[in-house]
């Protein structure tokens, strides 16, 4: 005796069966009604404007699902896809585990990583690179190429942010053009006194007529920039020079104590950001505008590339480096590691500040 259940369509068993078969549930009646109603509304209001959208909307929203459900072959294929995907995963896992079996046992003494590389770094590191801080010697001398790649990543990241967010600095060009036009107009009217007076007024203080800042039109600095906080300004006056000094200390002592290019550059970049937050973009632009940024960033990367090229050339040809290593432990020692640290630090500081400035304002 079988019992016919009421409300079978909503029961768990039916839904589970539909799920297993891979059918998509058919649309409910009132849902379709509602859809048609909405389509009619849209038709009335926006017929003329977007005809293509209406054509899309006129079709049955569930047509695809229905057609897909009719193709029972697809269900079989879907099973096969599942099985194949599973098999692929299992195969890859098996291959990886097989590879693990070929590796030397964990912690065994006679693996190369345990007895050759680290020992070499620790024993000969100071001799060969002239650094006290072995980590710096490793990342800047033994693995110089890797660090060069990291610096390139920073450069490319800042460049792509600039491409995405850089606000075009038009006002400068506009200002000069306008000035020329004004002069021309004045000359045309034989009113040279006015033109001269204007030129005299403009030339001594170029920043008045050709603003180096580029705000979106109709927007002043006061609208986008918050009011400067006097407490923050007074503290920044004391702290910012300290931060710069500390960053330089970390940079210059990269081969003697923990630190180096990346951390020192981050400290200097943080100092720049603090100065900017306290005194605003107008003050920061006095010593760090777009031109300085471009020069420092591109210049330091190019110099670094030159140094790396020198390393590669001497290393590949078996030539000894002519740069003396100096006395172990002195500030000026360890060959090219000190300049590399400085260059990397400049690069990192520029990148940090550029991210801050670009995300906050869109330009420098």
């Amino acid at each position: 005796m079988s019992r016919i259940r009421k409300n079978y369509e909503n029961s768990f068993a039916h839904r589970f069966l539909v799920f297993v078969k891979g059918d998509k549930p058919l649309p409910e009646e009132d849902h379709v009604e509602e859809w048609k109603h909405r389509v009619a509304e849209v038709k009335e209001t926006e017929r003329a404007e977007n005809a293509s959208y209406l054509e899309l909307a006129e079709t049955d929203p569930y047509e695809d699902a229905k057609r897909f459900a009719k193709m029972s072959d697809m269900r079989v294929f879907r099973r096969i896809y599942y099985v194949l995907a599973m098999l692929m995963c299992l195969m890859i896992i098996g291959m990886l585990i097989m590879n693990v079996a070929y590796m030397p046992a964990f912690g065994s003494e006679d693996t190369p990583t345990n007895n050759e590389v680290a020992e070499r770094y620790l024993e000969k590191g100071s001799e060969e690179t002239g650094v006290v801080n072995t980590v710096t010697g490793m990342i800047l001398q033994y693995r110089a190429f890797d660090t060069f790649g990291e610096t390139n990543v920073l450069f490319v990241a800042a460049c792509s942010v600039m491409i995405l967010l850089f606000y075009k600095t038009e006002p400068e060009a506009d200002g000069t053009e306008k000035r020329k036009r004004k002069k021309k107009a004045a000359a045309r009217h034989n009113d040279e006194a006015v033109a001269q007076a204007e030129a005299a007024a403009e030339t001594p203080d170029g920043s008045v007529t050709a603003p180096s800042c580029a705000w979106p039109q109709g927007m002043q600095e006061k609208e986008t920039e918050p009011e400067r906080d006097i407490i923050l300004q007074n503290v920044a006056r004391v702290v910012v020079p300290m931060i710069f000094l500390f960053g330089l200390y970390i940079l210059l002592n990269g081969h003697l104590s923990p630190g180096g290019g990346f951390s020192g550059g981050a400290v200097i970049g943080a100092g720049l950001i603090l100065y900017n937050a306290a005194f605003g973009f107008r003050a920061t632009r006095r010593f760090f505008d777009e031109k300085v940024y471009d020069i420092i960033k591109v210049g330091s990367l190019c110099l670094y590339a030159l140094i790396i090229a020198y390393y590669l050339f001497t290393g590949a040809n078996g030539i000894a480096s002519i740069v003396p290593l100096g006395k172990l432990g002195a500030i000026i020692s360890s060959g090219l590691i000190l300049p590399i640290n400085l260059l990397v630090g400049l690069e990192v500081a520029c990148t940090m500040y550029a991210f801050y400035a670009l995300f906050r304002r869109g330009t420098f």
Partner: protein
């Protein structure tokens, strides 16, 4: 002498840790942002002071102690200012400021950041 220094230093460190613990408790206990900030700023000033002072006492008079003292100085500069800026921001944008604390209406020139 060494023992006395060690005991005093460790007492200072334990004191700082207790303060940090109380601050962490307050951070989760309070509901209003300004109250919670008060609790959080405790760690940055008093907690750090006690812990680093303990370390200085244990270390004695040398270059490392000077570095630790500079760290204390930096934190005492930086932490209150950042708290001040955050509090100003909270006052500017909070909708339920009057529900949570007494607000005295004054003529204010401009606003905090």
């Amino acid at each position: 002498m060494e023992w006395v220094r060690f005991i005093i230093g460790s007492l200072c460190i334990v004191c700082g840790l207790l303060i940090a613990l109380i601050a962490a408790f307050g951070l989760f206990k309070f509901r209003f942002a300004l109250n919670r900030m008060h609790a959080a700023a405790m760690t940055d000033t008093l907690g750090i002071l006690m812990v680093l002072l303990g370390l200085i006492i244990m270390r004695g008079f040398c270059f490392d102690s000077l570095k630790l003292a500079l760290i204390i100085l930096f934190f005492w500069f930086a932490s209150p200012v950042s708290s001040h800026l955050l509090a100003g921001m909270e006052v500017e944008i909070s909708d339920r400021l009057k529900d949570n604390c007494d607000v005295e209406e004054t003529e204010r020139k401009g606003g905090v950041q």
